[in-house]
């Protein structure tokens, strides 16, 4: 497989994943806030922006965050490189560059999603609220996964998609837990009481609400929420699950068996995974959740760079 194609597959996965993650967070937060008092809005819209990592850019367009402008900025704004529309556009560009290597069904599905989302009018949607638009993005992303799984040979190209999806999810879940935890704890320190609804919103944004109840049979407890999203071995959006996927994908690419590693990306992924397997949530909270998650996010960035160095880049002269 050409290095350029592997590169495009990896980013195709990351961009579709990012679009879905952003849509989930937007949708759930918006609807939770609808049930809250208006004056608390300011407190909670800012964290969404920091989750997306685009707070500074946002300030260049809007002075204060509110339901409308945060939605516009994260869903449609063409100047925001992480906006949902920009992610889908870039995912499609990557797919177009390698359309001879992906299945016809995958291309038609993603291309159709791009055109469908293009028919949404930003003004109208901003007024109507994010559910319709975000619902379409999430559904579109799920369908694209399904089409990919069912029509693309599960060869090394598929593994690059798998690694890209898993890495993007792992990073987004880490950001989500980090930001929400800080935000909700800050709320209690200034006298507010983060009720279980906000923690429910966190679970819902990663589709883990029902799974939580099946797992714990107990009321929503922040520590258990963090445990579910970081350490759970079975929920497809927990960090541990995603890193397990990354490891499986990377090993399939290099054809490496368990217990060893073929390159730096596999070594780092294995190291992170060992931690996630044996760490306990109480220890993590005692040691500082923010520091723990920041460490993971940095590690994910490094792994992304190392994958690129190992597989995508070529020296000008062989």
């Amino acid at each position: 497989m050409l290095s350029r194609i592997a590169d495009s597959l990896f980013w195709l996965a990351r961009y579709t994943g990012r679009a879905e993650d952003t849509a989930r967070i937007l949708d759930v937060t918006f609807h939770t806030l609808l049930e809250q008092a208006q004056k608390r809005y300011g407190l909670r819209w800012d964290p969404i922006l920091s989750m997306a990592g685009e707070e500074t850019l946002f300030r260049q367009f809007y002075s204060e965050a509110d339901a409308h402008n945060v939605f516009e900025f994260l869903a449609f704004n063409p100047n925001n490189p992480s906006s949902i529309m920009q992610c889908i556009t870039k995912a499609r560009e990557n797919a177009r560059k390698i359309r001879d290597r992906i299945s016809r069904e995958m291309w038609e599905d993603l291309n159709g999603l791009y055109f469908t989302l293009g028919t949404f009018d930003p003004k109208e949607e901003t007024a109507a609220g994010p559910h319709r638009f975000c619902g379409r993005v999430i559904f579109g992303s799920h369908r694209f996964h399904g089409v990919t799984d069912a029509t693309l040979p599960h060869d090394e190209g598929w593994e690059f998609l798998r690694v890209g999806w898993a890495l993007e999810r792992a990073e987004m879940t880490a950001r989500l837990v980090d930001v929400q935890y800080r935000n909700l704890l800050a709320l209690s320190s200034i006298g507010g009481t983060p009720d279980s609804h906000q923690w429910m919103a966190v679970l819902k944004s990663v589709g883990a609400y029902e799974a939580y109840h099946r797992q714990y049979h107990s009321p929503i407890d922040p520590a258990r929420v963090a445990e579910m999203l970081i350490l759970n071995s079975q929920h497809p959006r927990s960090i541990r699950f995603c890193v397990t996927e990354m490891q499986a994908g990377l090993r399939a690419i290099s054809n490496t068996g368990p217990g060893s590693y073929a390159n730096e990306a596999e070594r780092l992924t294995g190291k992170v995974l060992e931690g996630l397997r044996y760490d306990r949530i109480d220890d993590i909270l005692r040691g500082g959740l923010h520091g723990y998650l920041t460490g993971l996010i940095q590690m994910f960035n490094t792994i992304g760079e190392v994958i690129a160095r190992t597989y995508f880049y070529y020296a000008a002269v062989a």
């Binding site: 497989m1 050409l2 359309r99 291309w107 055109f115 070529y314 002269v317």
Partner: protein, 488 residues
């Protein structure tokens, strides 16, 4: 002539040869069944099928990008649902003519870059050959794999309304494009009008990619069993990019850009996730000029430095062969009947359009006095660029061309305007059928022994009323082309 039923009600062909209706107004026998099928259809039903076809093209991304609005809007290459139908006898005639032409052009290229017997015999002026913009000195004396130059040719044909006969309008033997539309048009047509196919025996076209793949595999310097074949594209911004990726996918070969390849020790490799992998055959869709910055244009970013060195050493095969542009130069075109006679001892099956060479003084004076009646073409261009359509041109434009012709006569040829035949096409603005001018580009594959032509080819249609220019940049579209197994 006027039809009173449904879709074709009020249709008249005008003064041109109508592919569907005879001058008496009856459907030609090879169109009779289709008329029966479609004639009763209401415009609204037809419109529904048309939308279905458009959606199918849009979803597959068979679009070209228009950058004029600054945002890069994607447009569909318009597709018209009324097929262009050719009965077997007409196709057999065309096929014989094209086969003869492709073989002669290949012999001409072998000769021009080899012994140059035709120049020594003074059948064609040496000065004309050497002054071709696409003549490549670098190819002189080089033995090319299996002696094949013209692996893929697209030859443009038109039917002259005044005689009803097919003429060759131009040869494209460098990197002709359009075959993907032939294959996609057929696919969409079978989805939009499945019932029409039940009534006809339409010859299939889907074997093109496997035939091309067979020829490419044959070229491998390491033998067919070990043949790594790639398609070299200029990249995603090229207007034919869809076709490049389509063909690569259909043939199951790697689609590469120049930066994916590297030459080391006069061998070409591609950069893969597991290291360098040797490449044996390159179906290149990059022009000669940009193939290798060390050999041709040094500012090219699209090519591969050292590629021509590897080619000369016989370590990699290229299709089509560099230097082919000398055979489709529009001044050389005037000599193709001579070439056919010289190399094959045969009379041309298909006629060429009368052509005036501006660097011949007798021709030049005729051209300059008759500019408003002629079409003038720049010899090294293709795709409808550098053209003057005398009858529709403004006075100032004609005068500007006059200046250009006089300063550089070798660069221009002129031809009488051919009144192209028409096929009924749907005019969505007027919601009725109207006659629109068409040409035909069949695609010929040559393996050194035999010429394979997929039945039909690309029928391009000028969708603007009265227009004779079928290029997509000028509002042209395309139609599915049916060659019938029999006569009707």
């Amino acid at each position: 002539m006027c039809l009173d039923r449904g879709l074709f009600s009020g249709y008249t062909a005008g003064p041109f040869y109508d592919e569907m209706f005879s001058s008496q107004g009856a459907a030609r026998s090879h169109y009779a069944r289709l008329l029966e099928k479609l004639g009763g259809m209401a415009p609204s039903q037809f419109e529904e099928r048309r939308k279905l076809a458009d959606l199918s093209f849009l979803l597959q991304g068979i679009t070209f990008t228009v950058y004029s609005d600054g945002r890069g809007t994607e447009r569909l290459f318009p597709f018209d649902l009324i097929p262009r139908i050719l009965p077997q006898s007409e196709w057999a005639h065309i096929e014989a003519g094209l086969t003869q032409r492709v073989v002669a052009l290949n012999l001409f290229l072998q000769d021009v870059y080899g012994k140059q017997q035709i120049l020594k015999d003074r059948k064609i002026p040496s000065s004309l050959v050497y002054s071709c913009r696409h003549f490549r000195r670098e190819m002189m004396g080089l033995e090319v794999p299996h002696g094949i130059y013209t692996h893929v040719c697209g030859i443009d044909l038109v039917r002259d309304s005044s005689t009803g006969e097919f003429y060759v309008l131009e040869d494209n033997v460098r990197t002709p494009s359009g075959i993907s539309y032939v294959l996609e048009n057929r696919l969409v047509m079978t989805r939009a009008f499945p019932e029409a196919f039940h009534e006809h025996e339409v010859l299939p076209v889907a074997h093109y990619p496997s035939e091309l793949s067979r020829i490419l595999r044959m070229l491998s310097p390491r033998g067919e069993s070990e043949s790594q074949i790639v398609l070299l594209t200029p990249g995603i911004h090229n207007s034919a990019y869809f076709e490049h990726s389509f063909l690569a996918q259909q043939m199951g070969i790697e689609l590469v850009e120049g930066s994916d390849l590297i030459v080391d020790g006069v061998v070409v490799y591609m950069k893969t996730i597991y290291g360098l992998k040797r490449v044996d055959v390159i179906y290149r869709r990059v022009d000669d000029d940009f193939l290798d910055p060390l050999c041709f244009r040094s500012d090219s970013m699209l090519g591969v430095p050292g590629l021509m060195g590897a080619y000369r050493a016989g370590n990699v095969a290229l299709a089509n062969t560099p230097g082919n542009g000398v055979a489709d130069d529009k001044a050389i075109y005037a000599f193709v009947p001579t070439l056919i006679k010289y190399y094959l001892g045969e009379d041309p099956v298909l006629r060429s359009v009368e052509t005036y060479l501006c660097d011949r003084s007798d021709h030049l004076s005729h051209v300059l006095t008759n500019l408003p009646k002629l079409v003038v073409k720049s010899v090294g261009e293709s795709g409808g660029y550098g053209m003057l359509m005398g009858p529709s041109a403004a006075r100032a434009e004609i005068e500007a061309f006059r200046e250009r012709i006089m300063s550089e006569p070798r660069n221009y040829i002129a031809q009488p305007i051919v009144p192209l035949s028409v096929v009924p096409s749907y005019d969505s603005a007027a919601q009725c059928m109207a006659g629109r001018h068409v040409d035909l580009r069949p695609y010929c594959l040559y393996d050194g022994q035999k010429v394979t032509i997929v039945p039909g080819g690309l029928t391009r249609v000028a969708l603007q009323p009265g227009s004779l220019v079928v290029n997509s940049s000028q509002g042209g579209g395309s139609k599915d082309t049916w060659v019938l197994r029999g006569e009707c």
